[in-house]
């Protein structure tokens, strides 16, 4: 099951806010009356969902940043979950 359109840019949904929390030493995703504590890989992905990057760009950016390959599957899976939860959106 894949909802994500690899031809479209991805951004953090306007209802959500990605924020670094110093005291918790982690990124959190904030939304009306709730918060999600993010692990490092989720936070890295969401940080490059800037409304310009598409799936390929995100994979390339993170593989370069961490000098690894083969991240596409994990990133694709996470972004599909994120899309299903409404954390990220794709422009029409």
């Amino acid at each position: 099951m894949s909802l994500l359109d690899s031809n479209k840019a991805i951004q953090v949904s306007p209802t959500y806010r990605l924020q670094w929390e110093e005291t918790q030493d982690m990124f959190v995703l904030l939304y009306p009356e709730g918060l999600i504590e993010l692990n490092q890989s989720s936070a890295e992905i969401l940080q490059v969902c800037d409304g310009k990057n598409k799936l390929n760009d995100i994979v390339r950016t993170l593989e370069e940043k961490f000098s690894v390959t083969g991240l596409e599957n994990d990133i694709n899976n996470f972004l599909n979950t994120a899309l299903g939860n409404g954390w990220v959106t794709q422009s029409a």
């Binding site: 806010r17 929390e21 005291t23 918790q24 904030l30 009306p32 009356e33 709730g34 918060l35």
Partner: protein, 371 residues
């Protein structure tokens, strides 16, 4: 001191109950019955101290509630200050007396989200339950909130008088453009506990309502998120109240009392610390009130040896007190509790409550009389 010696995890959620004043009179209000006694509200500087110290501790979600927070003239100043501190700011309001200028002003100072309550899907019932003519205005305010780009939660408290409107309530939420709907079955504390026999729906009503809510959850997926808050009297396991006492939530009452849950000031022999005497860090880390129900050392049977004790933490201590007279008993919602019959009897009694017994509305006159 009772409880665990491990340093507690920091608060994530700060609920700032700015005032007990409210133009509405909902008979299920969660404010204390005797709220009229507490008139010594914190001033702006005291609130700023609370906001700053709590943020330094780690709180990041902030709810401005009450009473009606719009009554406070310094609301925009406090929102602005909180926004600068990096909070996600939520306004929890009835919408009463709100206008477009206020909605814009709050947006400018950084308010992130507005939760507006409606009491029913029809004017007649909404205005009766609210004790104030407010239905048309609330709907107008909801539309303005969306017009100005806020995420919006629509909250409807459910009880015997309105639960049959479930379908209309959800259609209204769609019409108003709500992003989230909170269908909150009444929790029986404070005024709601006083009016319990009149408010409690029947099992049949609940079944029907829940089925409709589930249908809409599916049909609205990806458009409007629907939260259905379970009616815990009809469950056989208690809720994990406050996500565990003193683990996540910090409530500050209008007069500066710091509460591990917003009912806690009504527990007897229980001294809740005031922000007028202590810093937030002293209150959160060191006070007896916040340490009391941390961990499981306080537990009696059947909780102590229960394999589910890490899941629900014994349920709600305030409910245990209200119903059994002892906050260290298991929440009687649990069917392992020897006092579970108190719940089944209440459900049974409510099903046969005489119609002529009137609801007692939440206002200062009633508060002074029965509080």
């Amino acid at each position: 001191m009772v409880g665990s010696l491990k340093a507690p995890s920091p608060p994530r959620w700060l609920l700032a109950e700015l005032t007990y004043s409210c133009p509405l009179q909902c008979p299920y209000c969660s404010n204390p019955l005797d709220y009229a006694k507490f008139s010594n509200e914190l001033n702006t500087d005291e609130w700023k101290r609370v906001l700053k110290q709590s943020r330094e501790m780690g709180a990041v979600q902030l709810g401005f509630s009450g009473g009606e927070p719009l009554v406070r003239e310094d609301l925009s100043e406090l929102v602005n200050y909180s926004h600068e501190l990096g909070y996600y700011t939520n306004l929890i309001t009835s919408g009463y007396n709100m206008d477009e200028a206020k909605i814009l002003e709050l947006k400018e100072v950084g308010l992130d989200h507005i939760q507006i309550s409606l009491q029913a899907s029809s004017k007649e019932l909404n205005d009766y339950i609210a004790g104030t003519e407010s239905f048309e205005h609330k709907k107008l305010v909801a539309k303005l909130i969306k017009k100005h780009g806020y995420p919006m939660v629509l909250c409807v408290v459910l009880h015997r008088e309105n639960v049959h409107q479930m379908k209309d309530i959800l259609e209204m939420a769609i019409e108003l453009g709500a992003d989230f709907v909170e269908l909150a079955n009444t929790q029986y504390y404070g005024w709601a506990h006083h009016n319990r026999d009149q408010l409690m729906p029947t099992q049949g009503q609940l079944k029907e309502a829940e089925a409709i809510a589930k249908q809409y959850q599916v049909s609205q997926e990806g458009k409007m998120k629907i939260y259905y808050v379970i009616p815990d009297y009809f469950e056989n396991r208690p809720k994990a109240c406050m996500n565990g006492w003193g683990t996540t939530f910090l409530t500050i009452a209008p007069d500066g009392l710091a509460l591990p849950c917003h009912f806690a000031r009504q527990l007897p022999n229980f001294e809740c610390p005031s922000i007028r005497d202590h810093s937030i860090s002293e209150i959160w880390n060191e006070s007896d009130a916040f340490n009391y129900f941390r961990g499981d050392k306080w537990m009696k049977e059947p909780c102590r040896s229960c394999p589910e004790k890490d899941k629900d933490f014994g349920g709600c201590h305030c409910q245990a007190f209200l119903l059994t007279g002892d906050a260290t008993n298991a929440d009687p919602v649990c069917d392992k509790s020897p006092q579970h019959h108190l719940i089944s009897e209440a459900v049974e009694r409510a099903a046969h409550a005489p119609k002529e017994q009137p609801l007692v509305f939440r206002n200062s006159k009633n508060s002074k009389r029965i509080g």
